[in-house]
Amino acid sequence: MSELIIDVSVHLNDQSAKSAQAQWERPLLNRIHTPHTHGSKPISLDDQVSQMDQAGITAALLVATKVGRAGLPGSWHVDPAVVLEATTKYPKRFFGLMGIDPFAGMNGVKELERYIVDHGFVGAHVVPHWFGLSPDDERLFPFYAKCLELDIPIQIHIGSSLIHTPAQQLPSLGSPNSLDEIAYTMPFLKMVATNSGWPWVEELISASNKHENIYVVVDKHPISALGWPMFNFLKSWGMNRVLFGADFPSRRYEEVLAEVNSLGLPEKARPGLMGQNAVDLYKLNF
């Protein structure tokens, strides 16, 4: 049996995504640690699946990405109906995550509920800094409460942010300690910190260790670049808290997997990291 590998945070990169990102500056992508080799060519959903096949990725959580306030230059909202088409066309390969626009208020809360209850999406996803908000901003709390009610995890971008376009400056608001603030009154909310928390990796480890419902996705940055504390966390005391992600399309699967293979990961730590933790957390059925 082939290895279970779940990429827990995947974005569409098709023609519609590319046109929405037209105002983004390409050089930004070179500033991510690894060379970005997808270039500016769109990747169709079918191509995305064949890349997963080639790399041996069992399944991926596909985000109905919402970044930036609607109307501002560089903002990009994926229609969740498009993600629903993908999860319908490729069941068990894609599971939907609902993107959150904190400014959508109660309409957004209702939309989240609808996609979870009626359409089988398995979680939520938010990038607070794209909205100029810290993860512990009050506007997000109705969404957090709905996630608790629906018993679904929410992925939250944690770590510094890039500036995607000069027309919309993005402050770095993803401090791991903000998750600690959320957990103050929402200790049972399952928070999944994406983007590895860098440059506050140890702060994220501390939050995840303190709160049993805070998980870490080691995506966007190569694990080896995150330093010894994270490597030690994912192979020992945080073995059940860390999830694999490639942050596709920002990194190529073969490159990410080659890097994981070169880490010298103990056998006992690998299944959880690569897939089992995600299956347990998101209650995925294959």
Binding site: M106, R139, P142, L148, F188
Partner: protein, 253 residues
């Protein structure tokens, strides 16, 4: 705060109704109040089941309001939902100062969202708070501008700033005027001290924005009614203050 000794000793539900009747008050919103985090000195709360049974015993008189403890998190929002749906509670109630955070603090937001979902109003204390106990002073958090912020985030939420808002009554009037769904409750202060600008607001441009209350046992029912009638309000303004606005906001027939 002066409360008659007999009242402090407690009154039965039937005595309670009798006091209301004597003052000419036909209906009252009864609060399952929650004051402070459980376990801290002086924290106190009234079991919502007690309020539910009072409402059941006197259905023509009492309607329940569910108190909020933000630390109950999603268990609390569920409880709110249950008491609204199954026990006919008509709204929520919050004492932010007892939880030591301003009304626009994130810890309350799940409850505001639930109120919008259930389409029920929420009352919250605005204005300074008392120093209830020497050992546990509480800071003032009830700034009306904090309500402004909530109203911007939840334009459909019906918010009632209770306890008038003093010493920021002007500020409270400004927030109520700005937002269609923000209102003011005249409770907890003897009506004769409400102040000219609020009295003018009730009588004119804010006729549909202010509701009558006592915060009983803080203000005795008969005193509140008598002093309100003595404020020199027009009949129309008085009818809105005593009856029409509360009926409309709470959807009471």
């Amino acid at each position: 705060m002066k409360v008659a000794g007999a009242v402090l000793d407690g009154v039965s539900i039937s005595e309670h109704v009798e006091l209301l009747n004597k003052a000419g008050i036909s209906k009252a919103l009864l609060i399952a109040a929650k004051l402070g985090r459980r376990g801290l000195e002086d924290s106190w709360e009234l079991d919502a089941a007690t309020v539910a049974s009072a409402c059941e015993a006197e259905p023509d008189v009492f309607k329940g309001l569910m108190g909020i403890n933000p630390f109950d998190s999603v268990k609390g929002t569920k409880e709110l939902e249950i008491f609204v749906k199954n026990y006919g509670f008509v709204g929520a109630h919050l004492y932010p100062h007892w939880f030591e955070e301003a009304p626009d603090n994130r810890i309350y937001y799940p409850f505001y969202a639930k109120c919008v979902e259930l389409n029920i109003p929420i009352q919250m204390q605005v204005g300074r708070c008392q120093r209830y106990a020497h050992e546990r002073p509480m800071r003032n958090v009830g700034f009306p501008s904090s309500v402004d912020r909530i109203a911007c985030h939840f334009p459909d939420l019906k918010l009632i700033g209770i306890h008038v808002g003093w010493p920021w009554t002007e500020e409270m009037i400004s927030v109520a005027d700005k937002h269609e769904n923000v209102f003011i409750g005249t409770d907890a202060y003897a009506p004769k001290y409400l102040g000219d600008s609020l009295i003018n607001y009730i009588n004119s441009w804010g006729m549909k924005k202010v509701i009558f209350g006592t915060d009983w046992p803080v203000i005795p029912f008969d005193r509140a009614v008598k002093e309100t009638k003595d404020l020199g309000l027009s009949d129309e303004a008085l009818e809105h203050l005593f009856t029409l606005n509360t009926q409309r906001i709470y959807g009471l027939e």
